[in-house]
Chain length 311, copies 2
Amino acid sequence: MAAREPEIITSKDKMRNWSRAMRAQGKTIGLVPTMGYLHKGHLSLVSEAHQHADLIVVSIYVNPGQFSTSEDLSTYPSDFHGDIQKLMSVPGRVDVVFNPYDLYDYGRVRDSKGTEKCENVGVVSCLEERGAGHETWIRVEKLEKGLCGKSRPVFFKGVATVVSKLFNIVEPDVAIFGKKDYQQWRLICRMVRDLDFAVQIIGSEITREDDGLAMSSRNVYLSPEERQKALSINRSLSKAKHAAENGQISCKSLQDSIIFAIEEAGGNVDYAEIVDQETLEVVEEIKAPVVICVAACFGKTRLIDNMEITT
Amino acid sequence: MAAREPEIITSKDKMRNWSRAMRAQGKTIGLVPTMGYLHKGHLSLVSEAHQHADLIVVSIYVNPGQFSTSEDLSTYPSDFHGDIQKLMSVPGRVDVVFNPYDLYDYGRVRDSKGTEKCENVGVVSCLEERGAGHETWIRVEKLEKGLCGKSRPVFFKGVATVVSKLFNIVEPDVAIFGKKDYQQWRLICRMVRDLDFAVQIIGSEITREDDGLAMSSRNVYLSPEERQKALSINRSLSKAKHAAENGQISCKSLQDSIIFAIEEAGGNVDYAEIVDQETLEVVEEIKAPVVICVAACFGKTRLIDNMEITT
């Protein structure tokens, strides 16, 4: 028997009404936020969601708020029909796909100067460039700074803001985030705590290809040769984890080995840092739970990966 | 018959559970956020709330997040017992007083460096100084800048953040804000729109003393002589409104008259600006709905007031 197609909802009001009607029936709701173009990593988040909630909402929305003006929002890949087919292949049912056209469309904006940029704001997203009139941003001031925050200055304020919007529209009991985007997951956890959102955040383990490469929409951009070289990320992380578990607590030494291995394979390391699992502050010696986070380019493709060490 | 005392709730969880239980019974909930030390202006907000919701929650919480380190949080006046008595005098019932001890207490914070200040953040609140581990702030980037934002750089980020927390804890259908704090009211409206909070915001008209002075907790600090002088604010605003309604559309001219009248009475004008009612952008000629906003000191007491002109 073919799986039932999920209900597709595009309006904020209909989405919230659906959630409230379901909650009134005593059902719990799990949200899996995505930007579409789904792969097995996303599908594993849906499976995880089934462990924590009665009903599952997958949001598919490419958020302009997290792209800077120099990043190309318009070429972000999408395949809505394919996504629905993939979601129907997950064991258990996806109840709703929330697929809004524009989460930042508030109707008439009276400010006639709506197209001017926000002044005195250090970082500008695509959204501000478009003059959408949106001006409220959530900043998780410490966690947004390090790791990917250095090279992507609008990314995390865009993510925190759109996730808050989704929480306020979908009103889920639980939301699932992949630990592949480790900084994003920790930042959302902190935001939920600090703003008292009544949403439980689940971090879902990284899904890997058979050869160890972390699943990512970007993997399709790798040439066969680059793909082979990119295996150096997971291999060097595994090796460092093994060394740490056998007593190597100097982060400098572990970090150097990772950078050396990736660069030797032909990668270009953006960062390889060993940080506290909660605060993401750089540590010098492994004494408490840490995570090794890596970003590296192979050709034009930037990949991220990480590995937790809980000694 | 004496009015029934409101239920006093201090825990976040109990507060949310109460709201959810009431909503499950089909009741709507109105929230009136206050910092206590209530006066007739606050009580008018409670009366207004009864027009929009079945059950009323008044929060009493002095929010450290909106005080800068140079402002003295510890001397902010409070009179909890008196507040409860006053709330019992309002026609209609206040169902709950939400009086949390510390909205920013998240239990153990693992970061051992929790006492260090947040770096690269332009403005620091009392909260950051105390090292509470809270690091998520909501910025309404344009509306927070002008008027009172100039002299109180942490105020609006503190207000937006604590109001979001209260919305997430109390989960009200409606929240009432006084138009006395005009910028705050408009900023909350914008935040609610931009973050898709399912809360209707009501702006409640300014309550004035018989002689026209806008009600404020700070009025008690005025000497009898200063109190007389302070009437120049409302008088000059009324005169400007009258002039505008009779065709005077030049804001420069209206502004000059207000500043002259207040300074002549012995006040020290911080600002007197004529701004668009929604965007709070300064206008040069009155062509659309505007509001005249004034902040002025009499002795050591800083007063604010405003008047809408909808020609």
